[in-house]
Every structure is written in C-alpha cells, then in structure tokens.
Amino acid sequence: MAILINKDTRVIVQGMTGSQGTFHTEKMLEYGTKVVAGVTPGKGGQTHLGVPVFNTVREAKEATDANASIIFVPAKFAAASIIEAAEAGLPLIVCIAEGIPVLDMMKVREYLKDKDVTLIGPNCPGLSTVGECKLGIMPGNIHIPGHIGVVSRSGTLTYESVSQLTALGLGQTTAVGIGGDPVKCFTFKDALKLFEQDPDTYGVLMIGEIGGADEEEAARMLRDGEFTKPLAAFIGGATAPPGKRMGHAGAIISGNSGTAAGKQKALKEAGASVAMTPDQMGNAMKDALERAGILEKCLG
C-alpha cells in the first residue's frame, strides 16, 4: 500500500517526445513505471522509447486504458493539457511545468471542481511510491522502502528530506511534491487525508514554506483529530524578507500572513515536531515517531 500510485499505475506522458519528456520518460521507465503511451499532437502513430505515441490524450486512453497522466509541456500550454487529460477521463494528473499564469490555473481549478480528478502541481517534481512507480522528475536512488509519507511544496527540499530520512534508516511509502504555486488543487490537507487512510504509512514529514495558509490548515487537522499519525514539519523561508517572491510564485509573505513563525507556532501547538533548521528534518520525524512510541517499527 501507499498513496495515489503503485506498481499497477498505467501512465500517459503528455509531451513525451520533447527533450524534457524524453529524458524523464527514460528515467521513469528505468525505475519501473508502466509508461503505456505518449501524447504529442502531430506525432501520432510513431513509437518513442518503445512506447506508442498518440495525437490526443483521448486516443491514448482508449488504446491503453491508462489511469494517470504526467504533463511535460511548456507553461504556456500546460493549463490546456491539464483540461485535455481531465476531459479524457484520467483520474490522476501530474503537472510538472513551472510558470503557468495564475488566471489560467484559476480556470483549471474551477473546471476540476466537480470532477473526480486529482491534479498534483503545477510547478512540482511529481511523486513516487518507493520501489513501485515514479511519476515525476525526482531521483529514484535516494529512497528506501518503509513507512514514512513525505509531502512537500519544494522539489529539491523533497530530495533533501528524503535523503535525511534514508540516512536515519527511516524508509518511505510515497513522497509527493505538491508544488510551489499559489493556486493549486492538491494541498497538504489532501495529502494528509490520504496518508491517514493508508495503513502502511505510520508517520508523515511535511515540508512547507512561507506564503499562504496550507500549513495552518494541516495544523488544524492535527489538532482536531482529522490526522492522527505522528507529524513532523519544516517551514522554509523563515529568514525571507517580506514582499519578495522567493523563486516559487507562492513563496511570498504579504503583511502579517504567511510567515514561517506563524506556521511553526500553529504546528507546534497542534503537537507536530518542527525542525527549526533544514538539517533537522529527518531528526524531527524521528522525534515525532519516538514520542508516539513507534520509532522501532519504522526503522529498517
């Protein structure tokens, strides 16, 4: 068990024949991901990396019975690709692209509101279920299988936190990068709900950052008993100046809201172990598991 994806996930890669798409499709295939189709308009009928290419997502879905899509198209066209995948009936869509205009994402979110679709991203590294399926651009070799769920707003900080967990002998179930944009569909709240239901996940490490109120919502779930497993967290950008966008479009403090101090406080008060510096993310997880008396169960 894990969340969202496993060894049976059948994947379509939108934009597979481009340079990014080609590079990462190769890596996903190496990892063992079942990539069953690629989509590039105008290249239908070709075979790329041993995978059949279709002109539209709908044709790819009809021919292969895929149940997930990952999008490697440029930001300008990515919102349209998300809608295409949703209309074709794919229940899981991962959008890697960085730089989609906010107004476009607002339209996407409005469209997906009543659909039974999970959209991860945009501006995210994707996700991987250790040893089974990788649907993204993260390195595969840093993971070991185990019982910790990881969810993060940042790509490279996901890798950093996973490697800290691995170094401590704390293996992982699924690591999800939810992305650094301000408007998205899949948030910490959704990830925690899924990890709560997954019997193999014993604890969760959450990597947040300044801006927005997603981390406060996670703290509320912990406090109100909607999430009952040990939770550890780190908030990036504690020393960022207000009003400046720190790389991620969503990482900006406006006025008094979205500060790291506010998020850390809310999480601590709700009972989470909070790493105050980025080198302590793995240790915070260890601490949370120790306090719950289940550290032994999670090691090795």
Partner: protein
C-alpha cells in the same frame, strides 16, 4: 512586476476607473504646462516604486503655477529615502502633477487572488489611507471580503452590497470603479489591483487617489505592453541580469553568496546560513536543470556584489550529475579568476567523482559534506575576513 503610480493612473483611465486630472512630467517646464490645464491647487508627486513618499518629502501641495515649478524643480533629481528604499534611497526622475482633491472620507478597495479557494477576492474597508495589514490587525471587523465565482463573474449586486455596507453614497461611481478594476485584472493578468485611498470627495463623488498594481510574472509573455512599462532604474541591476539568464536572484544584503538549485532548497540554505550566525548576500535558484553555463552566469552575478566574502554552492543533484556541476564550478572559477573561497556541498549521482575533481583542481574550492557543515564553513570564513 511593479509599475509607477502614473502608469497605474493611465491604466485606470483606460479601464474607466474615476481618477483626478493630471499627467506625468520629466522637467519642471513640463510640470507647469500640465498644471496650466488643471484646476488649482495642485499636487506634485515623486514617481519612485516606494510607499511613504509623502513623509520623505516627495509629495507637495501647491497653490500657484510658480509654486508648482519650484516644487517640481526640488523633487526632480532628489534622492528620496523612505522606509522601503533603504538608506541609499531612490533618484526621482519623474513627477506626477494632479489636481488636489477635497477629500471627505477615505476607503480601501482591492482585488487579488484568494489562494485557499482559487477565486478572485474583493477586499474593502471603511478604514482607507492606512495599510490594510494594520487594519486587519487592529480592527478585522472593518474588513469586508467577497469571493467571486469565475463562472458567475463580478456583478453589479456584489458591488452594491459592498457600497451599502461601507456607506458609500456615490454607488454609481463605486460600481464603475469595481467593474473597471475587474476588467483590468483579467485583461492584464494582474495579481493585485489596490486603490488606497479610494476617496469620497466633498461633492460626494468617488475617485481613486492612489493605487498599486502588481502583475503576474508568469503571464508577462502575453503582455508585451506591460513588459514595456518596466522601469529598469527601479529594479536591482543584479535581479534584472539574473532574469535575463532565467535565474531567480534576490538581493539580501549579507556577505555569503549563495548558489543553489531549486527554490525550496535555496530558501532553506539562507535559513541555514542565518542559523549559524552569518547573513546571506542573496537568494539564487539556478533551477532544477542547472547547467555549466547557468552556473557560470550565476557566479558572475554573485561576484558583482562586492560585499560577498565567500560563496556557498549547495546543489542536490539528484538526476543531474555532480561531476558535471563540479566541472562547471571549476571552469567558472578559472575563467573568472576567482579570488574568494567557494564552499561546495554537492549531493547526488557521482558525488565522489565531483569532490575529487574539486580537491585536485588546485582552486580555492572547499568540499562540504552537509548543508550545516557548509554553512558553518562559510560563517567561519566571513568572520575571519571581517
């Protein structure tokens, strides 16, 4: 991206939002010409990207054309120092000349994106003229928020409701303002359209006195007309150069230069440097696909900051190979005749090979085995250099 007050005023005029008469001038002569076409008294306002211009002496109320000339001469060319510009201040190159308004009451009105719902949010308050953050802290009950469903759009009744709650008499003017802001927001891909204050004049009419418009950087590709409004003099030259090479750079004022891949790790790196008692000179994200070329450009930008005493390279390669990054570092260090030490923490594929290359390069590149160790090495170097 941000623009000047006079540019925002021009956009407001284009979208039918009521504003006072007036125009921008670059010389005192131009300022007088503009004033001749207006009704006295006049206001002369310095055009720099900063709040607090009035307190710093950048805004003058004058009664005659001669006074308008004197005030313009004084403000044009002055270096304005406000709480937002830093001690070096900002040179004033343009002034906005407008009529002076007889204000009876000031309101706050803004549109922005609500991150939690993904909807457009209208924010209004009867407490205009002061910063909205302060109002939300002191009297949150005086802030009205309305979220607009994209499938419905902004309607007259949303605005009538707000007008009634705020006690605005010129409902027609308020609706015109609201609908204009809404059209502007969508037409130009804004992330914030703020009017503060939105003034009720003595004659009861509504007019936008001061405003702030921010644009979504991600959407600038489809708005060359907005990109053309960018004033390079108002932006950090290093941030501009970084943008040209598709690098994310933010000046932070310290002396440890940072070169990191990924925004999250870049933020965490500056937090780590602070935690060990040093101050980062910058935030710099070379992006997920760091190449040797990008690393070289990033080095150039960091080194153009003369306060930088050492550089911390923190790369979690993952898919990118560390030996390739090491090669980029060594090439950049050699071609730029690097004088200051570089602390490099590389993680990922081929990390041992990367470390060996750095050690054997004969250059002042010091390998670190963790983020904390690297930050501590940098803190020691800058302490000794001081």
């Amino acid at each position: 991206m941000k623009i000047h007050e006079y540019q925002a005023k021009e956009l407001f005029e284009e979208f039918g939002i009521p504003v006072l008469g007036g125009k921008v001038a670059e010389t005192a002569e131009e300022a007088v010409k503009i004033a001749e076409g207006l009704k006295a008294p006049y206001v002369i306002k310095a055009q720099v990207h900063s709040g607090g211009r009035g307190k710093a002496g950048g805004v003058k109320l004058v009664n005659t054309l001669e006074e308008a000339r004197e005030a313009s001469e004084k403000i044009l060319g002055m270096t304005l120092i406000t709480h937002q510009t830093g001690p070096e201040g900002k040179l004033v190159r343009k002034v906005l000349v407008t009529e002076a308004a007889e204000v009876a009451k000031e309101y706050y009105f803004a549109m922005t994106v609500d991150r939690d719902t993904g909807k457009l949010a209208l924010i209004a308050s009867s407490e205009g003229g002061m910063e909205i953050e302060q109002v939300s802290k002191e009297s949150p009950e005086k802030i009205l928020t309305e979220k607009i469903d994209a499938s419905v759009g902004l309607r007259d009744y949303h605005l009538r409701y707000l007008a009634d709650k705020l006690g605005i008499k010129d409902v027609k003017g308020f609706i015109k303002t609201g609908l204009g802001m809404y059209k502007l927001f969508y037409a130009k891909d804004c992330s914030l359209v703020e009017i503060n204050p939105l003034a009720e004049l003595k004659d009861g009419t509504i007019v936008a006195l001061d405003s702030k418009i921010n644009f979504d950087d991600n959407a600038l590709f489809r708005h060359p007309e907005i990109e053309a409004m960018r004033d390079p003099a108002e932006e950090d030259p290093r941030e501009l150069e970084a943008k040209a090479y598709d690098l994310n750079y933010v000046s932070l004022g310290g002396n440890v230069g940072c070169l990191v891949n990924g925004a999250g790790l870049a933020m965490a790196t500056m937090d780590m440097i602070h935690a060990v008692g040093a101050v980062p000179a910058n935030f710099l994200d070379v992006g997920g696909g760091a190449t040797a070329e990008k690393v070289t450009r990033a080095f150039e930008i960091i080194l153009s900051d003369k306060d930088v005493k050492c550089i911390f390279v923190n790369i979690f390669g993952g898919i990118i190979k560390c030996d390739m990054i090491a090669e980029g570092l060594i090439t950049a260090a050699k071609t730029m005749n690097l004088q200051i030490p570089v602390v490099a923490r590389l993680e990922g594929t081929n990390v041992e090979e990367g470390k060996r290359m750095m050690r054997e390069s004969g250059l002042n590149i010091l390998p670190a085995s963790s983020m904390r160790e690297g930050a501590e090495m940098c803190a020691k170097i800058v302490k000794e250099a001081a």
